[in-house]
Amino acid sequence: MNKGIIFNIQRFSLHDGPGIRTTVFFKGCPLSCPWCQNPEGIKRDKVLFKHPDRCISCRFCVEHCPEKAVQLTDNGPFIDRKRCSLCMLCAANCPTETLEEAGREINVVELVNEIIKDRIVFEESGGGATFSGGEPLMQPDFLIETLETLKHEGIHTAIETSGFANWSGLRDTMPYTDLYIYDLKIADARKSKKYLGVDMKPILENLHNLIANEAEILVRMPVIPTVNDDAASLNQVAAVLKREGINSLELIPYHKLGSAKYINLDLDYKMSGINIPGPEALEHIRTFLAERGINIISEVEQKNE
């Protein structure tokens, strides 16, 4: 049986496909989008999160750290990330969850059992399970076995992906996947390299292949001011959609709710200077795309695990 690493299981998810759903966040992502709302999900390995506001200065973390990587400051624990071996003894002993482990190993049966707890809710609402992340296709064997098991259980399945993955893995999910939520962030090769840190080609090819294989697809685009909200970027996205015969798009306006997580992970947040898009800007995008035959179905909030 396959095992995988996930960092959250979110029940009562309302915006990751039809009905009321359980969303599973897989750890690990090949992209490096600076606006990422779940930076704890980028690395494949476990990460150590801190929530300094919860600290009661009990010093258990300092006492339990075998690497002497934790110091207590006025602002809660300070982690020397270079020394830290990610043994997580500090988190295990932290009474207040000031220190928290993000990422846990889980096998297919454990995960499926967790998901089917809401079977009745799925049946009543037309919901199911959505695999998000991170990038779920980074763990293809685990993902495919989970999907296959859920299909045997009669559960609706969805994958939320950036599309940056090996086609073979993606292809093998198709028999067990009812919906692909495809996050098309950028359709410009140069910008893709710059912001996502990856080549855009496989993203567009995979989209094409899924459509060619008659997969059910919902395309989403995050609206990131100064990155993809200009006319040229929108035109490029519209062109891709038209080429693939897609005439609808869901928008996810950028927000800053994830920015605190960067501090908690001792990472730089590179988006501080970017403002969230206002209603007028969104309306402008809506009109702009509508004129190009792309219908905006809804605006959903950017997901924050």
Partner: protein, 793 residues
Amino acid sequence: MNNIKRGTNERVQNLRIQSESTVPSITIERALLVTEVYKKYANKVSMPLLRALTFKHLMENKTICINHGELIVGERGTGPQATPTYPELCCHTIDDLSVISEREKISFDVSDDVRNTQENEIIPYWKGRSMRDIIFSKMSSDWHNCYEAGIFTEFMEQRAPGHTVAGDKIYNMGMLDLKKQIARKLDSIDFIEDQEALAKSEQLQAMAICADSIITYAKRHADRARELAESEKSTGRREELLKIAFVCDNVPANAPRDMWEALQHYWFIHLGVITELNTWDAFCPGRLDQHIWPFYSKGINNNSLCKDKAKELLECFWIKFNNQPAPPKVGITLKESGTYTDFSNINLGGLKPDGNSGVNELTYLLLEVIDEMRLLQPSTNIQVSKKSPDLFIRKAGEIIRKGWGQPSVFNVEAVIQELLVQGKSLVDARNGGISGCVETGAFGKESYILTGYFNLTKVLEITMNRGRDPLTGKKLGPDTGDPGNFESFDQLMDAFETQLQHFLEIKIAGNQLIEKLYADSMPAPFLSLIIDDCIDKAKDYNSGGSRYNTNYIQGVGIGSITDSLTSIKKHIYDEQKYSWDELLSALANNFSGQEAMRQYIVNKTPHYGNDEDYADIIMQNVFQIFHRLVDGRKSIRGATYRINMLPTTSHVYFGSVIRATPDGRLSGMPLSEGISPVQGNDLNGPTAVIKSAAKMDHLATGGTLLNLKFSPKVLTGEKGLDNLVHLVRSYFRMDGHHLQFNVIDADTLKKAQANPEQFRSLIVRVAGYSDYFNNLSEQLQNEIIARTAHDLV
């Protein structure tokens, strides 16, 4: 409270403003009239007759009030919000009156005249004679010790049994018809063989006197309306007053002929019940849309009624409920039920007696009335069957998401199965519903008495202290051993069961005595007219005259006790992180200097409400023990004991008498309410909450109460209504009994707490009822803020 204009027209708006802006006050009129009768007849006539003569004297002499503009007439007191007292049940001391008038919340104006009359006329007669005085003097010292320690409460110490709802019979029969039944029954009494013949005949005569008396009361309204018509300048109003007189001449003497008469007919009966005695949960028309439907549809079909007129009548009817605050409570009864709301809880939808969906055009019109009126009283709920259309839930959802807590949502199939399990016939079960907060009943045919809340968490505290109450220091239960010597978690559960049995038996022994006292000295011949089969059995409501008799004990704090036990199981037995000594000493010191331990427990214990079996199985164990120890016991009037799981406001009071608990709760803090998880401990979203809650055997209860709090955006738009429908349907598919929604964000509540004057009209869901946020104690406000709001993810 506020002067917001709400209502279908100016008439209703003005009546609503009058209802909402009048300050509740005490009227001494009833107390004086009752005292007059008792002085004249007590010990000279039988008890049923004494009560009937009391009722007659009240109906013949109480002030008649017809408010300007109203269409449905009759007040319990001398006017809107004027509230009588019931010295035969609870004779307030002068100190009580001061507390009632001066307390910050749920106060009543008490005039000097009222105070003087109470001191000079009422107290001298009733001191030592009121039920409250008699009950307290008869209870054992064990009972008193437990009562004072907060192990249980006692519903009947200052209010009478009631806990019943009108059925359909009154819409087909007037008082004259009931008198004919009584006469037939009197004729059939066998004075030679039947040893109870005399009691039966006294009871039937008492009922007949009550039937005549309420007719007199209605005629007095008719006379008064004609009198007012004579001096009325407006032609329109003059005609209305003459119409009111016409209506009051016919009902309740005869069966109603149209919708106006049906509503007025019920209202006179309602006033009769709540004037005769201060019954718990006032009284209630129950399945209003079903009862009024024949009159409504007939009126619409023959063009004697239009929808607007029907709505106006219904809104006038609504205001009558809101004009009658719950009579002033004192002591522990105030703590367990701290509200003006008197729990008339109107049921919409449900099933018809033939098993088909009861949702009709009037159901939807009533939803409009609820929305437009936005009043605390009457409470309202929707009865959702698998046969009910989604549209019904969606229309109710449009009101629910406005955030003032009405209507609440019930599972018809569960309610019916609960009634069938208790032995009701299928038709009686389908004609039933819920009343009060969440209590299941066979309307018109059952006396289902709530006898008191039971503090399950307190019993665990006493178990951990070998039978001693750490707060009072008194030894209240048996010594079930030092928990430090319990080798397994099961041994703790066994000790808990021993203690629980001990305390339940003290409670039930007290109940038996109180039930006998009411049967002997406080019959309710008027109520007995209304509830089947009191006439047939020639037996009073308070002596077991109803077709079905049930007694409830209400379990409180299942979330808190579960999380406490889960914590003990995990940290002491499974992981041995802490010893019993460490835990008990931390509890004794209120976790002082032990914040790290407290936090560890709070954060690293599986909690009830997260769909984790580790905790939920313990909840099931506690529930089953409680159920096993109560369910099926018999009372002296022939009632069967059952349990239900609701708190009203007792979870705050019960928390105030418990020191720190093993779940990390600090001393004095509220317990969890209903069957909801401990406030803030449900972290896996609402689907996990309903899954956990559904692991309880709802069908073995007479009602459970689950509160879900949502931030408003979860329920926004059509998709929000989808979410509501799906959660309701899912929970009900799992046999959940009831769901209520608090749709408001914590920030708004915090603002309201800081600036009460700006939030005077803010209504929130408490536990089985709604109340003005400003009417709630600060502790209860905090408790509501602490409930987890399920947000969008």
